[in-house]
Every structure is written in C-alpha cells, then in structure tokens.
C-alpha cells in the first residue's frame, strides 16, 4: 500500500506526520522523503547514511564533426534547451527534460545520449523501517525525475509512507500519483484552508481518496471542519497546538517522542485508512 502525506501549504506538518506514521508502523513501513528540494525526514530520525546512489537524467551530447547545421534539434526542442549557431549547437543541460526528441530528429547522428547527475538517493535505517531520501543538487531546477526514481524504492509488501513536497504542481503530483490514499495535513488558518482546497481539487482530478489532519489545532473556530463537511472529507485526526511539541520539534524530536500519547491516535488512523 502507498500512503502519501501532502498539504498544499508549506510548513503545516507533513514531515512531522509522515515520520509519526512510519514510527507507528515500525517494521511494516517504508518511509520515502519525496520533498527532494528540501528533504527533512532524516533530521528527526537519528541515523546515518548507509548507502547513497547518484540519480542521473539523460541529456544530449553534441558531436561537432557529424553536424550538418540543419538546426532541426533546436527547432524541435520545446524547452529551449538547445541553441543553434550554424554548425554549433549549444546545449543548456539544466533546461533539458530528457525527452529525446532532439536525438530522434537529428538526421546526422550528431547527438548521442549522455547523463547528468541531478541528485542522490540516500538510504538510512533509523529504526525498524528503512528511510529513502531524495536530495536534489542545489542549482538543479527539475525535481520530478528524482522523485520518479525515488518511488522505485517502494516495497509491495509494506506500507509505503511518502512525504510529499508542498504545493500542487508537478513535484507533488508525481509524488502522490499511484498512491492509494493521501493524508492532507493542514493548519486552521485562512492560508491553510486556501491551499488545502487546491490540494483537494488536485487529488479529485487524479481520483485519489484523501482525508485531513488538522495540525496546531487550538479548538478555536471551525474553518477546516466547515470546509470538510461541505466537501464530504473525513477529519482523520487533530494534533493540538502545543508549545511542548513545538520545542520538541526544534530540538529534533519526532512528534511521538514529544507526545507519545498520540501514538494510539495514529494507530487508529492507519487502521481506518488500511480498511478503506
């Protein structure tokens, strides 16, 4: 099974919840940190990197001696990653989407495949479960190829918990695609609600069921509850606003380390989601 933890808004507590779910599941879990631009799961799980593999993407390599100067490669590149200067083609690797169209289009074999490293996947074993973190190299723009390769670490016989990136654009979409359920973590503020609505709309178009965790709940107002009611969404759990939890978080303690009493709530939540 694959359960993603997403939000819309940044900073609502995705990583906090993803780590808590993995800690609750123990040996049944695989934790994947798909927020490859800013991976954080490992910060709350004391462990070291056991192994690390480079993640590469295909980029074209230009061979001057074969080039006839037709300019077809630059014409077909929809990502502006090739500039044609007569018989010299300039490749902007950072813009390349690895579609291979230029290679297919070259009549003269002047382009071959080469690889470019965009980041790494680290494996750690912080407890009973493995943690796979994707880390995009600073300066690289495209996180999706790294997320796709990271998701290959999912194990069929385990419950895979995927910590998704914020937002609703392609990094989040590629993280949640293929998941059985998405837990949306929100905060009871207008920002939280605004971005939660965007995330719900995204998941509806992808036809992935979802439910809500309200984090930093102060028991004031019914902003999220009203929205959930109108949209027939379950509120799976409330995590109370607590200075103790905030201070624990800032000292690299996981949620269940600061508030072990919440473990039972996470167990019930997982039972409910597994049964769906």
């Amino acid at each position: 099974m694959k359960i993603a933890v997403a939000s819309g808004k940044g900073g609502t507590g995705k990583t906090t919840v993803a780590v808590a779910l993995a800690e609750t599941l123990g040996a049944r879990a695989v934790l994947l940190d798909c927020d490859v631009e800013e991976p954080n799961c490992h910060l709350f799980l004391q462990s070291h990197i056991e192994s690390s593999s480079a993640v590469t993407v295909m980029v074209p390599r230009f061979h001057q001696e074969q080039c006839t100067g037709c300019g077809r490669c630059a014409k077909v590149c929809r990502f502006n990653a090739i500039a044609s200067l007569g018989k010299r083609q300039l490749i902007f690797q950072e813009l390349c989407h690895s579609c291979g169209n230029c290679l297919l289009s070259c009549p003269a074999d002047a382009l071959t495949e080469s690889t470019m490293e965009i980041g790494r996947i680290h494996r750690r074993t912080p407890g009973a479960f493995p943690l796979y973190s994707g880390e995009l190299q600073v300066g690289h723009a495209l996180s999706v190829p790294l997320i796709r390769q990271l998701k290959e670490m999912c194990e069929d016989d385990k419950i895979n918990i995927l910590d998704a990136p914020p937002g609703t654009a392609c990094p989040m979409v590629n993280s949640v695609r293929g998941c059985d359920y998405v837990i949306l973590v929100t905060e009871p503020t207008p920002f939280g609600l605004h971005d939660l609505a965007g995330a719900v709309e995204t998941l509806r178009t992808m036809e992935i069921p979802c439910g809500i965790i309200i984090n930093r709940d102060e028991g004031k107002g019914t902003l999220i509850e009203d929205y959930a009611g109108q949209n027939k969404l379950d509120i799976l759990m409330r995590i109370p606003f607590s200075r103790k939890i905030a201070e624990g978080y800032s000292a690299a303690c996981s949620l269940l380390q600061s508030a072990p009493e919440l473990k039972e709530k996470f167990s019930s939540l997982l039972e409910k989601v597994e049964a769906l």
């Binding site: 808004k9 631009e37 954080n40 723009a141």
Partner: protein, 289 residues
C-alpha cells in the same frame, strides 16, 4: 528600481506574513506573489482585481483518428509513458505528458497535432498599499517557472511605468524551478528562517542557491526564542558566510491570531510585534544596493 525577494527554503517560516507587513509599510512599491503554486499574499492585502490574463505554456497533443494508422510510433517515442496505444488508437494518460512534442514530430501521417496548454492565470490587482501581481497555476501543471517569469515581467513593467522604487516579491518554498525563476536578477534575498533542524537545513540550501546566483542575502530569524541555542548556531553560520542578520522575531501567538482574521500583525492592538517588524523594514528599505 530594486527587487527584493523573500525566501526561506522551508515552508511555513513566515515569508508571506512578513511580506504582507513589508508591503503595508512600504511606500512607492509594487508587489509580486511568486508562490504561484499556493499563492497566499492576496489574502492579506485586500486586493481589488483589475486584470486577468490566461497563461498558456507548453503543448498538449491532440490525437486524431482520421489519418491514424495505429502504427504505435507515438507511444514508442514518448519517454514519459504518457501515451497508450493499447486499444488501437492512441490516448493520452493523464498527468504524465511534458509537452515535448515528440509524438507529433514523429507521427508518419501527421495525425497528432499540438495545442497550446492552458496552465493557469495571472492577475493584476490594486491594494491600498500598491499594485499586486499574483497568479495561480492550475493543479498538476508544470511551467511554474515560465508563469513566474511572465508575472515578474509584468510587475517590473508596472514598476518602471509608475516610477516605483521597489518591487517586493513573496517567494515559493524549496530550491527548484519556481525559486530559480523567482530569484534570477533580483537585487536582494531576504531569508526568513526558524530555529528548527528543518528551518536551518533548508535555509542553508537556499543560501547556497543565492550564492550560486551571486545574490546577497540578509537573514531574519522568526520564532527565535523557541530555541535560543539553535538561533545562535544559525547566526554563527551566517557570520561565516557574510550574511547579515537584520532581525529576530520572538514566537508570538499574535501572528496566528491576526492571520486567522486575514490581517498582518501591524493591525494588532499590542504594538510590540509591529514595532519590531517596522525596525526590520527600516533596515531593509534603507539599504543601498
């Protein structure tokens, strides 16, 4: 005209809350919400929508049965596995196409056409503090970089036209394409971090990115008293990297109280948080760069 971008790396450190305050304190400035994926700045500035422009970027293929010989070449050339010819005629699988056009370029009978992809919308709004440029990217779309570039172009044109001295932009989280697009050509990055392991970790990556772009960074530590020791470590890191610290904001429930009412802390009856932010803004706006 100078451009300031507020970034953090980590989401939720207070970028938008502070950008809202800076916008309200500024004079003769234009504002831009570069977090097109989850734009929130407009919730604080009471905007009145003036103009809407549809945003098209990239391409989406249309598969026509007329002329299609079901050869399956389109599926073969698609490296994103976005086409299935399982049932004879090709069909697009949702959410996978990246708009490279290989299917159209290599169809032997021209049965695949490319149409411009409607990815989002951008807006120009008037607020009591200045003109706001904001946008929304439709769920699941990419091309946020291009949308941000168009948005910034429009904001800069407005700033030139009205002789505004400053363009203040609320940045997206992360370090990827949206951040890179927001960052290129700005004069200053104001980084907002928090004394947590995630905050520090993510701030370091954004500082590294700004360094690669050779853009100066100044730092604000938000909720600093949640962990004084870690705040000191962050400050020490910044001293070593020539990143001036321009302010610290203590953790204060007044921020979320105001946020719940779609307001910034400048409107709170207790003026202490507002005074602190005014001092920070004073430092930023009096910088010569």
């Amino acid at each position: 005209m100078k451009e300031i971008l507020i970034l953090s790396g980590k989401g939720g450190t207070g970028k938008t809350s502070l950008t809202g305050c800076f916008a309200q304190l500024s004079s003769n400035a234009v504002f831009c919400d570069c977090d097109v994926d989850a734009s929130n700045l407009h919730l604080l500035l009471a905007p009145e929508l003036q103009e809407t422009e549809e945003f098209y970027a990239g391409w989406t293929p249309q598969f026509m049965e007329k002329g299609c010989t079901q050869c399956g070449i389109c599926e073969k050339v698609c490296r994103f596995k976005a086409i299935s010819c399982e049932k004879g005629f090709p069909r697009q699988l949702p959410g996978l196409c990246e708009g490279c056009g290989a299917c159209a370029d290599h169809c032997p009978t021209g049965a695949v056409k490319l149409s411009p992809r409607h990815c989002g919308r951008r807006y120009r709004s008037q607020t009591p503090y200045g003109t706001l440029f904001h946008a929304e990217l439709f769920p699941g779309e990419e091309n946020s970089g291009k949308l941000i570039a168009e948005l910034r172009r429009a904001a800069r044109a407005e700033a030139e036209k009205t002789d505004a001295g400053l363009l203040i932009s609320d940045g997206p989280p992360g370090i990827g394409c949206p951040v890179i697009s927001s960052m290129s050509g700005v004069d200053l990055v104001v980084a907002v971090t928090e004394p947590t392991p995630s905050g520090f970790h993510d701030f370091k990556r954004v500082a590294e990115l700004a360094h690669q772009f050779e853009i100066p960074v100044q730092l604000i530590i938000n909720k600093w008293d949640l962990n004084c020791e870690l705040s000191e470590m962050i400050a020490e890191f910044c001293r070593g990297r020539n990143i001036p610290e321009i302010g610290r904001i203590p953790f204060d429930p007044i921020f979320s109280e105001c946020l719940r009412k779609n307001r910034t802390v400048l409107s709170a009856s207790d003026p202490s948080a507002a005074l602190n932010i005014k001092n920070i803004w004073q430092k930023i706006s009096s910088l010569t760069f």
